[in-house]
């Protein structure tokens, strides 16, 4: 640590001189070698010390706490599912969890641990392999930041500063030490920026091997980033903006022929759009291929999807294709993650409409999901003979649905539904299959001709309550405890809603010939699309749980409130995800300072108020890279204001990395400018002292706040005798 600082101080004088020289060489891969030849040693030293330190900090106490921390309960569990090949559902794309699963598999973990809840002891489970994967990727972030800044600023000092900020941030450190998606995501975001920067450095030699190589790598990392979490989209936008800007520049170059331009355009389409899209899809293919066993995620998916899962009751079954009267069926709500129409011998409690038997939607398979389909017969007609040919159900028919287990009919009437008070209540009513006229439902198949028949799985139908004209409906609202927290089923007077569509899933009728369910199996494309719809819906349904503290985006940059990872009381080792406040507030300061500075500089430049041409050129370079970093920060931060789903503090960390890089370049440049304007005779005085001070502050603050990441034991910080009392700078920190 100290060695690195000494070297900075020793070398920055000479380096500063060189940096202020206008750069004339064409940008190329070996630029570092020619330009900073004198500092090659310094560069290597700074880089390697940053790798070593990063490794040391991230791997120190990696095995503690030896219990499940925070979201490890999700991602560890999902890793195990991959090892067991059990199907599950998650709102994020699969790559991150597949990598965790792979790391677990390679390190000899057998997937048997349940990761039940935070705090469960690992005992002799081999969890370290998965943590090592995350920590390794977390370690790599620091050197990548170094390299990006080096490419963009040509300054070892700026690069060291930026990587120092990332290195000594307690938040980034904590986030890298556990089985989470975030270190993996941050790595791929930073890696795609790095690959982009390398690609741009080959600007002058298009269509050479390295040019292609780095562009392909950019595409690869982008695909990985978005295959971990959808917020990877922001880095895609960032790269897209850079590429568009790049192309716009090429367009003005009249020396390039139209054909060359077209080649440039197509090459980018291929490497940055088609190739990543293909990768993204293939990750899903691998995901769907691995998870071929029925598991906890089945109920979220359609009947056709489920039939592909080994162990699911729809796997390799055969059933009659066309639904007829006398069939026993289950009805599945035809929306993503829709439940099966269900009833059970419990009554609606007092105050929730009529006290009749509850009807709900239930995601899991159960005897109580079975319904018998009966024909509505007008009473004055003579009852036909018992033996009659099997009659198929047709579009527009009037039917009864009898609940098989309780022999009551599906019923609706003019009472308020329990949760959606402007809908009608749906109940089960009657005795031994006879009820009243309110039990009559009309089958409607939207878009089909009158008289069309109902096929299992494929036909989407609506059930219209014949007397009141409302339509059987279910959505993702859960009933309270009296309804076993199953989904609410109502009769919706507004029939346009897509959630009013149902399909027949199981079908039993011994009068009809069985066909194999194979024909209903979703193809890969269908499965892919369905997964996306379910994920998107899952994401928008992520609302804060009752009593949960929600985090607002404005709180993030000011480090307002962290996230508790482990430990509540004073006997446990407590880990708290919180940024190093000195770094975060410093970053925020420079982030806020940058726009006015660049505004003033632009005004001066445009009005020709600048003297030294060397400074002008350096400014131009620095401010252009800083502006791009500012854009990167904004793209990774501002969209969260538009999201209605529940947000957490750790969503800010990708944006934080961009702001660290911005600060590194900006601080270095400000110090240079101060030197240039205030002390032109003694080049480097400000910079030297400034760097010493900054490094000292950063390291001191890291030393002070390291218990956030490595664990705090003893009394809570609120208590008088706590050793961590001095760490509680804000009242909102729960340490």
């Amino acid at each position: 640590m100290t060695k690195e600082i000494c070297l900075h101080v020793l070398y920055c004088t000479t380096e500063g001189n060189e940096e202020t020289m206008p750069e004339k060489q064409p940008k190329c891969s070996s630029r570092l070698g020619t330009h900073a030849r004198g500092h090659k040693g310094l560069n290597i030293l700074a880089f390697s010390s940053c790798v070593i330190l990063s490794f040391a900090t991230r791997f120190y106490k990696l095995d503690t706490p030896d219990h499940v921390c925070w979201d490890e309960t999700h991602f560890g569990k999902m890793g195990s599912y991959y090892i067991n090949r059990t199907f599950f559902f998650d709102v994020h794309p699969p790559l991150g969890k597949m990598l965790i699963g792979l790391a677990g598999h390679l390190s000899g973990y057998d997937g048997a641990f349940t990761f039940e809840s935070p705090g469960t002891k690992y005992e002799d489970v081999n969890y370290l392999g998965m943590r090592i994967l995350c920590a390794t990727l977390g370690v790599l972030i620091v050197p990548l930041v170094y390299l990006i800044v080096l490419e963009w600023s040509f300054s070892v000092t700026a690069a060291s500063l930026a990587s120092l900020f990332v290195l000594f941030d307690t938040g980034t450190l904590t986030l890298s030490q556990y089985i989470l998606l975030d270190p993996i995501l941050m790595f791929f975001i930073i890696a795609s920026v790095y690959a982009l920067v390398k690609f741009q450095s080959h600007h002058a030699r298009p269509f050479q091997f390295l040019w292609w190589f780095w562009m392909t790598m950019t595409g690869l990392f982008l695909a990985c980033a978005i295959s971990i979490k959808w917020v990877g989209l922001f880095v895609i936008l960032f790269v897209g903006a850079q590429t568009a800007w790049d192309l716009w520049g090429l367009l003005a170059d009249l020396a390039l022929s139209k054909v060359t331009l077209l080649k440039h355009f197509l090459a980018r389409c291929l490497c940055l759009i088609i190739f990543p899209a293909g990768l993204y899809i293939s990750f899903f293919a691998v995901h769907l291929h691995i998870l071929n066993q029925s598991g906890p995620g089945d109920g979220f998916f359609s009947s056709g999807f489920q039939s592909k899962l080994v162990g699911n009751n729809l796997h390799n079954v055969s059933m009659p294709e066309k639904v007829a009267y006398g069939s026993v069926i289950t009805l599945k709500n035809h929306r993503a993650a829709g439940g099966l129409l269900h009833s059970h011998p419990l009554l609606y409690p007092e105050g929730y409409g009529a006290e009749q038997q509850q009807v709900t939607a239930y995601v899991y398979k159960d005897e109580n999901n079975l319904w018998l389909l009966k024909k509505y017969v007008e009473e004055d007609l003579p009852v036909e003979d018992e033996i009659q040919p099997v009659e198929l159900v047709k579009n527009g028919d009037l039917v009864y649905l009898e609940h098989v287990a309780t022999r009551r009919n599906l019923h609706s009437h003019n009472e308020k539904a329990p949760l959606s008070v402007n809908h009608q209540q749906v109940t089960c009513y009657g005795e031994n299959g006879t009820g009243d006229f309110n039990d009559v439902w009309q089958v409607q198949i939207p878009g089909a001709a009158a008289g069309a028949t109902v096929s299992v799985v494929k036909t989407k139908l609506k059930l219209i309550h014949y007397l009141t004209g409302c339509v059987l409906f279910s959505h993702s609202k859960n009933l309270p405890a009296w309804g076993s927290e199953q989904l609410e089923v109502t009769c919706n007077p507004y029939s346009r809603d897509q959630r009013a569509l149902w399909n027949v899933e199981d079908h039993y009728n011994h009068h009809l010939p069985n066909i194999s369910f194979e024909v209903f199996r979703s193809s890969f494309i269908e499965s892919l699309l369905e997964s996306h719809v379910v994920m998107a819906q899952g994401n928008s349904d992520l609302k804060p749980k009752e009593g949960e503290i929600t985090s607002k985006p404005w709180q993030w940059p000011i480090n307002y409130r962290g996230q508790r990872f482990s430990g509540y009381n004073n006997t446990e080792e407590r880990i708290y995800l919180l940024g190093n406040p000195v770094l975060w507030w410093g970053n925020l300061f420079f982030l806020v300072l940058f726009p006015p500075v660049i505004f003033i500089w632009l005004v001066c430049k445009e009005r020709g108020l600048q003297g030294n041409s060397a400074i002008t050129e350096l400014n131009q370079k620095v401010f252009s890279s800083c502006s791009w970093l500012l854009l990167g920060w904004a793209l990774h931060y501002l969209p969260f204001y538009l999201m209605s789903r529940v947000l957490y503090f750790h969503h800010y960390f990708p944006a934080f990395l961009f702001s660290c890089m911005l600060s590194g370049i900006f601080i270095n440049h400000l110090l240079q400018l101060l030197d240039h304007y205030l002390l032109p005779s003694r080049q480097g005085a400000f910079r030297q002292s400034g760097l010493i001070v900054i490094c000292a502050i950063v390291i001191q603050s890291f030393y002070k706040f390291h218990p956030f990441s490595y664990g705090m034991v003893g009394p809570l910080a609120d208590e008088v005798n706590s050793t961590h009392r001095g760490l509680k700078w804000l009242d909102s920190w729960e340490i």
Partner: protein, 755 residues
């Protein structure tokens, strides 16, 4: 008349402007002086008047279509139920709360006032017949006039952007023949006012930018004033005007930036001009906006049905209602004070207790303390009264001198009717298990100690000298033993709690749900009768200033806007709008199948989408060609093209995309601002096709003209075909309705009984 005035005005101003230009010092450019002298030879006090007959004709037709049989139907149509009622309430002075800012309603009210309407009409159901004395024509006049003026403004905007007169006419024609714009202009609704201010904003911006190079000119300042007024109007009719205001501000910022970096303008002038812009486009609109709210609040001085939504101190400023109840009550809370505690933010309710205990076991098998329930009750009740007692007092001492309670004091609260003290303990609350239960302590003698101490935390103590005051003080009650704050959780208790709201304590103090304030307050009779009274300190209603009231209403409006989320039969999502998937049924005749259904002109709407795509493609192609040094357009043409792109395409996008991100109930008429921009963009695209794509061959142009003519006819036919649904004057048969149902998703109403 108005038009002649506008045109004349323009010329007068132009002449004046030329004069003004002379005053700007011009350092010796000979040719310019020549030009000035040439100007001067013309007589200056002569008004040159020209009349654009086309414009007059357009305006006349617009007025005829919008004003024709304006008083029909004589029934409450759609949202007239709201805006009509609001006008009535204004005229009666009764307070109400609405999510829209007041300008639109005030204008309607003005017409009601002029026509002598006394505000006495019950707008409760859509379709209610207006009595003969009801001035429906007057109330509908302002929206209709605003809607009519859209046509000439569309014409003027395109002329100002430098497009051909044909294009300008086409724009006016499209606006004229859009059924949605027609329908929305004919009733007591505020949308047409918003649309007018949006177009006025664009037009005045264009005019202002035209004179941008000649600062301090009379003409420029006059248009700056108009721009500033229309910005105010856009924001004070409906908040959705904000999107367009943002767009206009971006254009203004861009021009300011160009001015800042323009070397030919001295820095002093830059500073003065920037200051001027800030004055015109920030200060003036803000001042006017506040003035409108001042008018709004001073018109509404009586208490009404929406009182409960507002804070206690706000309610007390309204005559009748709470002000009457609390009149003359003492201000400072002292020990032995009797008080009611209101939950300050959100659902109004009062801290309440009654002799029923919590059930021993809840339905999910958790246990309770079985002590007396404490709830939050939405009605005024004798059980809402509590007595403030010192922490070490054993009993209520009504004879002690009234000692005021200060910030940080520790108190007990005794329930007035049952005499038990407010208590909390480490037992999970009934509906929110993560919070602790609050009860009135019953001593069951089972070694379960009472924990009745609460610390008073004043949130706005600085204003009241750190003493706890009725009405104005917002407080938190922190339970001393557990350090948790008394909270309204928002959950309703089941039958055993009489469906009242749950009250619990939460470890997080900083939330709105933990804020309470005293509403009613009495000192005990003993304390007031004796000599050791506090100095006369009577709370008086109305000591809430305009700014406090304004801020409270403003905050409530912003929050309420995001809460409107209910299903509706005719609601639609923003994605469905451009293709007009779903209209809105506005009104149906009580005695036939005549109906008004809000729908646009489908031909125009779809062509608008096509035009937007074509425009985008042409724009990108031209930009790429420009980058490759192909000089298709002069710099001046570029400026105009970019302005059209920013204002029209930008206006469409800015007024459509935000709705896609909103999670509230939306209707097709929310799309009208976006649509209007699209309609004006359409002629621009057509003219660009002629100018830059088809300029080589006259055959192509002739074909294009023929296609255009056919298209125009179909636009007109579609308009005429859907007219019965816009005016609602013809009764329709089943066949008529079926033949109009061009899309399955359009939900026209058909009732069997009126065949």
């Amino acid at each position: 008349m108005l038009l002649v005035y506008v045109v004349c005005n323009e010329f007068v101003l132009r002449t004046l402007n030329e004069m003004a230009c002379d005053h700007i010092s011009d350092n010796g450019e000979a040719n310019k002086k020549m030009k000035q002298t040439a100007n001067r030879t013309e007589p200056i006090f002569v008004v040159n008047c020209s009349l654009d007959l086309l414009l007059v004709a357009i305006t006349l037709i617009a007025f005829v279509t919008r004003l024709w049989r304006l008083e029909d139907p004589r029934g409450v149509v759609f949202d007239e139920i709201h805006f009509g009622r609001f006008a009535g309430l204004y005229l009666q002075g009764v307070f109400f709360f609405d999510v829209h800012p007041p300008l639109g309603r005030l204008l309607i009210t003005l017409m009601g006032y002029l026509s002598g309407f006394d505000g006495n009409f019950d707008f409760s159901i859509i379709g209610t017949e207006y009595p003969c004395s009801f001035p429906i024509w007057h109330l509908r006049l302002i929206p209709a006039v605003c809607g009519s003026l859209l046509c000439p403004l569309a014409y003027l905007i395109l002329s100002e952007l430098g497009f051909h007169q044909y294009s300008a006419c086409l724009a006016a024609f499209l606006v004229l023949t859009d059924n949605a714009l027609l329908t929305q202009s004919r009733f007591i609704l505020i949308d047409s006012m918003l649309l007018l201010s949006l177009l006025a904003m664009i037009y005045s911006l264009l005019k202002f930018l035209k004179y941008f190079k000649r600062p301090f000119s009379l003409y420029g300042s006059a248009w700056a004033t108009v721009l500033s007024l229309s910005i105010t109007a856009s924001l004070s009719v409906k908040y959705s005007g904000l999107f367009s205001v943002l767009l206009v501000s971006l254009v203004l910022l861009f021009y300011s930036w160009r001015m800042i970096i323009d070397k030919t303008i001295p820095l002093i002038q830059v500073a003065v001009r920037l200051l001027g812009y800030a004055l015109f486009f920030v200060v003036l609109p803000v001042v006017l906006y506040c003035l409108i709210f001042w008018l709004h609040l001073s018109l509404l001085w009586k208490s009404g049905t929406h009182d409960e939504m507002m804070s206690s101190s706000f309610q007390a400023t309204l005559e009748g209602g709470l002000a009457r109840i609390t009149e003359g009550q003492p201000r400072r809370i002292a020990y032995s004070s009797q008080i009611t505690l209101r939950h300050t933010h959100g659902t109004p309710c009062w801290l309440h207790s009654h002799s029923d205990p919590y059930p021993v076991r809840y339905s999910d098998n958790r246990g309770s303390s079985a002590q007396q329930q404490v709830t939050c009750y939405s009605y005024k009740d004798i059980n809402n009264w509590w007595i403030v007692v010192e922490q070490d007092a054993d009993s209520i001492d009504l004879n002690s001198p009234p000692k005021p309670v200060k910030d940080g004091d520790i108190i007990k609260l005794i329930h007035g009717v049952t005499g038990r003290s407010l208590n909390s303990h480490d037992v999970a609350a009934p509906m929110s298990p993560q919070c602790m239960e609050v009860s009135c302590y019953v001593d069951y003698n089972i070694s379960f100690p009472a924990q009745p101490l609460w610390r008073v935390e004043l949130l706005n103590g600085a204003k009241t000298n750190q003493t706890w005051q009725a009405m104005s003080s917002h407080i938190r009650l922190i339970h001393v033993t557990t350090n948790q704050a008394l909270k309204f959780t928002g959950n309703q208790l089941p039958d055993w709690g009489f469906y009242q709201y749950e009250v619990a304590t939460d470890r997080i103090h900083q939330q709105e749900a933990t804020v309470w304030n005293v509403e009613e307050h009495r000192l005990s009779a003993a304390a007031t009768s004796q000599d050791h009274q506090l100095p006369p300190d009577i709370w008086s209603p109305g000591n809430l200033g305009f700014w406090e009231k304004f801020l409270e209403v403003q905050m409530k409006m912003l929050w309420a806007n995001s809460d409107v989320n209910q299903e509706h039969q005719y609601s639609s999502s923003a994605l469905e709008w451009p293709t007009m998937n779903r209209g809105v049924a506005y009104w149906i005749s009580p005695d036939s199948n005549a109906q008004i259904h809000f729908l646009g002109n489908p031909v125009t709407w779809v062509s608008g989408l096509v035009a937007a795509v074509l425009f985008f493609l042409m724009f990108v192609t031209l930009a790429v060609r420009w980058r490759r040094q192909c000089q298709d357009l002069t710099p001046d043409e570029w400026t105009r093209l970019i302005l059209s792109a920013v204002l029209l395409v930008g206006g469409w996008v800015f007024n459509l995309v935000p709705y896609m991100l909103m999670e509230r109930t939306l209707f097709l008429h929310h799309y009208l601002p976006g649509l209007l921009h699209l309609l004006i963009l359409l002629p621009v695209t057509v003219e660009m096709m002629y100018r830059y794509v088809l300029f080589r061959s006259s055959i192509q142009r002739n074909v294009m003209t023929a296609v255009l003519l056919v298209w125009l006819t179909s636009v007109f036919l579609a308009f005429v075909r859907l007219l019965p649904l816009s005016y609602g004057h013809t009764s329709l048969t089943e066949e008529d309705i079926k033949s109009l149902q061009w899309r399955e998703s359009w939900g026209f109403i058909y009732r069997e009984e009126f065949k």
